[in-house]
Symmetry: C2
Subunit: 243 residues, 2 copies
Amino acid sequence: MRPTPSTVGRPTALRGTGLGEPADSADPEPTLRRDAARNRDKILAAARAAFDEEGVDIGVEVIAQRAGVGVGTLYRRFPTKELLIEAVVAEVLEAVLSAATAALDHESPADGFTEYLRAVGWLQFEHAGCLTRLWNDSPGDVRDRIEVAGRSLLARAQAAGAVRDDLVYEDVVVLFWSLRGVIESTAMVSPGAWLRHLDLLVMSLAPNGDPLSHPPLTAQQVREAKAAVAQREAMRTGRPPGP
Amino acid sequence: MRPTPSTVGRPTALRGTGLGEPADSADPEPTLRRDAARNRDKILAAARAAFDEEGVDIGVEVIAQRAGVGVGTLYRRFPTKELLIEAVVAEVLEAVLSAATAALDHESPADGFTEYLRAVGWLQFEHAGCLTRLWNDSPGDVRDRIEVAGRSLLARAQAAGAVRDDLVYEDVVVLFWSLRGVIESTAMVSPGAWLRHLDLLVMSLAPNGDPLSHPPLTAQQVREAKAAVAQREAMRTGRPPGP
DNA sequence: GTCGAAGTGGAACTAGTATTCCGTTTGTGG
DNA sequence: CCACAAACGGAATACTAGTTCCACTTCGAC
């Protein structure tokens, strides 16, 4: 139903994020029975599709139906809707990470940086349904590595003189939040709208602009902001029935 | 609880939006009893405060409590939570309109335009809780006048050479959506964050930037986007219990 | 093949919320 | 002051959506 964007071929390294984690180490999971594993995948796929299309507010019953299983089965694998959402988000984050890694390989630091921004934009667009969760869920390994890569991308672009020096990584995070706002409003209607907006944003990052009137967020503030939104969001979904 | 922004005095003409509509024409309301009118105001004020602080997901029971009335009373005045939200949003829109009007009076078209952007930012910040509704609810008189004023503000800024010519009013709407994304994430944590982001955005609007790779939204697309978000939002709140 | 643990479906349970109902209270025109 | 329509409060209702339970299947090791 959602129109697919037409112009400006999307950056590479966005497809092919094989996420069939076989629980390599420590294995708290004693390997699932074949059919159970198959069902787990079906559920995850159905959830991803459902979230992308309808948002995380869609009922678990619907997801189970789309996956062709009963809710009981879904709950055996994901004891909570919240955990299911996190599993889907984890997949997207994995994709973000590989986009960041790919961008670091770019020969031009400037292009690598903007390519990364665009790649994240695409991922946000394609997973508009769980957008709010993307940058907010509990921190983890992948998120940390994304941050490291992001800082490095920014630093390289600044060193190359392509980005104004008074920007910090937290500004990039804010930029993603800003894109989110546009995408949430326009995803259904015009797949390209956010690209235009990103063009503007990228221009504003160039050096020799006017000084900024306000200081950037601190890393701590970003953490707090994420936590606050995460809490607010989690309260909306997955109502805790009892203590 | 929310910290109040410190620097950069907020534009004038944001306070003093007297909204005590006495139902001047057609009067479908046969004038409320004195106490009823008082309660209506208390409810509206409580709702505004509650929405601002906690978001529109807050329960009607809480609002009634804060207003010092029973839910029955609340429902007598606002037959639906949805209508209550709309009433609060209408107040904010009224404020947006007077900000636009004030900006039109500015002697410098360039400053008037950016002042308007900043004023809207402030209002979005102060009413972060019902932000999603601001630009999405059903169109109406006030919205139309806001749009007219906005178009005129943009046109004047462009005529004065302060804003690039390939921008259209729809880009301004997108800019507000973008600000919304930032504010929703940072309002609780850093009241100034969106101001920094807006600084960047404003810079990107200056002429002589690179050409944009994507066309702007059409007015029709903006309408559709608003409708889509409004529907999604309305489905979240005010569940229709029966037909 | 057999057997038991793991898996399955979906009805039933639970909690949270918007909304309604109704007996009681209160402002106000005559 | 009286009467009564309007307004009030809040318990009761209705409905949604997440989660649990359990009788029944099915995989896969021996």
